[in-house]
Amino acid sequence: MESLDIYEVLVKEHERMLQAYVLGIVGDTSMAEDVAQEAFIQAYRKLSTLRNKEAFASWLRSIARNIAFSELKKRGREIPTAPEVINGMEDVFAVLDDDKLGDGWEERAAILEKCFKALPDKLRTVCKLHYFEDQLVKNIASALSISLAAVLKRLERARSSIRDCVEQNLGLEGA
């Protein structure tokens, strides 16, 4: 078996995790795809430098993070470089890396889906439109006949509720 065939197994295993992680940073689907793709390429080329094979997922995330930051910088967007922000993201993904939560990553991530489903209808609708269907906030406001500020507020509340629920479900201690 060639090294790329072996690497393909790793790629398939971590692809969805990496996409979710990068989407959390860049918030844009096509950009996230580009970043994830580049991260897989760079990771393959640097694979020999990885000492702890167990830490592949977090190592891959760190590569993707650096690429994402560099892309954001190129586009003049704000970069969340504070270590505490990065640690906060890592808190969630490190727990999801654990096999105990399920065999595949989707299975582990599905544990959190109930947090999303538990959202009040108003918040869930806005979330679906914005995050699932990539609708612009102003379009959502116009479709739901509410103000732009109201959409933003609902998104903020939804994020906060999901975060609280996720922290509870994953047993994350307060920062």
Partner: protein, 450 residues
């Protein structure tokens, strides 16, 4: 930073993670990133294997190594031998300005937006502005000493410095020190610049009486002890210049700290109200949009990193150090004077040196055009030195110097074709022995009539 702020940032991070999870529809959103990455990696591996075969083919290797050694000589000879008024494709002579143009472009890329309006800049500083350096082609500085990892970026290509080698610096170069790396630059004027770790400094340009540097991150220290000319440093928040003085600059994201150790140093902000003149043992902040602040006293002994760096003995000996083989590009002997003149117009190469068969160069160029796809190992549409090894690598470096018309640091297929045409016209002119073909180029029948 207090605990509350940390907590809030951590929560932001967790929220971002949740947002990513929701956006990816908990892992259900289709993604082609992995497949695309694998596809690219497979393609790259295949190309790399193919190009390895081509680069290592005996004929190509022999021709390339020989060509590497003399291609530059050919370009110089061709440039000086072909009369200017003959109709011919652009000769290397015309192209002699190309690298300089490229440098100019790079200067614009590397140099920060001038922080001072044009009319506010005094003559001394203006003389050293990048646009004035187009004709400057001579190396005017060198990295005489360094510790840790230090790189020089030239034409989009980065080269790590090697121990014992004097690295010549030309306008447009950027010197980059990494973590724990430090470097010392000797300027042609006899002055010195020290770079602390994680610094990035561009050599924006230079004239007889002024040099312009540009620091975009990290810390530098300048010793302008000579009476000759002046040195100006663009920081992005103000331009600092001196005729004679020693000062340090520490560049942060939103401000820059100027520490004047001795001499007189002037700082030009965007507005006259924010200009400043400082003398020894004075420290001042340069702020974005505000320019140069008020000076305050400080102890020059605080700049310990620089003292340590200065105490090291630099490599004074010009040359290639202890390394064998051809020098990498830019690593030539430090030269201050003008380049030695080439052979006189129309004269064959100097006696005692047999010129190599120009047909060989045509063959090398033809192979490069024909096998372009295979040679371009990473598939980016241009041949770069990192896609070849050894003598071939040096050949590519040299060919880029002469034939990279768009200055992107590589040779595209179009550039290779243009190079082939030029080499063909050169071979037609000089013939297989390297001797210039004599006589008119009219058809044989006409010659007989005469």
């Amino acid at each position: 930073m207090d605990a509350g702020e940390n907590k809030s940032k951590r929560e932001t991070g967790r929220e971002m993670a949740c947002e990513g999870l929701v956006r990816s529809q908990f892992g259900r959103r289709p993604s082609r990133a992995g497949d695309e990455a694998l596809k690219k990696l497979r393609m790259s591996e295949r190309r790399s294997a193919d190009s390895g075969r081509i680069w290592s083919s005996t004929i190509f290797k022999a021709a390339a190594v020989a060509a590497a050694a003399v291609v530059l000589v050919i370009i110089i000879i061709y440039a000086s031998a072909v009369p200017e008024n003959t109709s011919r494709p652009a000769a290397p002579e015309d192209m002699a300005h190309k690298p300089q143009k490229r440098r100019e472009i790079r200067v614009v890329e590397e140099t920060q937006e001038p922080s001072v309006p044009e009319e506010k800049i005094p003559d001394i500083a203006r003389k050293a502005r990048p646009q004035d350096t187009q004709e400057k082609s001579e190396e005017f500085a060198s990295v005489s000493d360094f510790t840790g990892k230090v790189r020089v970026k030239r034409g989009g290509v980065e080269e790590a410095l090697r121990e014992g080698v004097l690295f010549s610096i030309i306008p447009g170069d950027t010197v980059i020190t990494e973590e724990a790396g430090q470097a010392r630059l000797d300027l042609g004027s006899g002055d010195t610049v020290y770079l602390n770790s994680n610094a990035r400094m561009s050599i924006a340009g230079g004239e007889e009486d002024g040099i312009l540097l540009s620091v975009s991150s990290g810390e530098i220290y300048l010793e302008k002890d000579s009476e000759e000319g002046s040195v100006a440093v663009e920081t992005g928040f103000g331009r600092v210049h001196t005729h004679k003085g020693r000062f340090g600059l520490e560049r942060f994201d939103d401000k820059c700290l100027l520490s004047v150790v001795s001499g007189e140093v002037e700082c030009l902000g965007r507005d006259e109200n924010f200009h400043g003149k400082y003398d020894g043992s004075t420290r001042a902040w340069l702020h974005r949009g505000k320019g140069c602040g008020e000076g305050a006293k400080f102890d020059p002994e605080d700049m310990k990193w620089m003292a340590k760096m200065r105490s090291r003995r630099p490599h004074r000996r010009p040359g290639y150090g202890r390394h064998d083989g051809p020098p990498p590009p830019g690593m030539g002997p430090y030269r201050r004077g003008p380049r030695p003149p080439g052979p006189p117009d129309g004269k064959p190469p100097r006696r005692g040196r047999r010129m190599p068969d120009p047909e060989m160069f045509v063959e090398v160029c033809r192979r490069m055009v024909d096998d372009f796809a295979e040679l371009d190992a990473n598939g980016d549409g241009k041949l770069t030195p990192d896609e070849a090894d050894g003598g071939e690598r040096f050949l590519i470096f040299k060919l880029i110097e002469g034939f990279d018309e768009n200055g992107d640091g590589g040779l595209s297929l179009e550039e290779c074709k243009s190079m082939l045409e030029k080499m063909r016209s050169f071979a037609d002119r000089y013939g297989p022995s390297g001797e210039e073909r004599r006589g008119p180029s009219a058809p044989p029948d006409e010659k007989r009539d005469e």
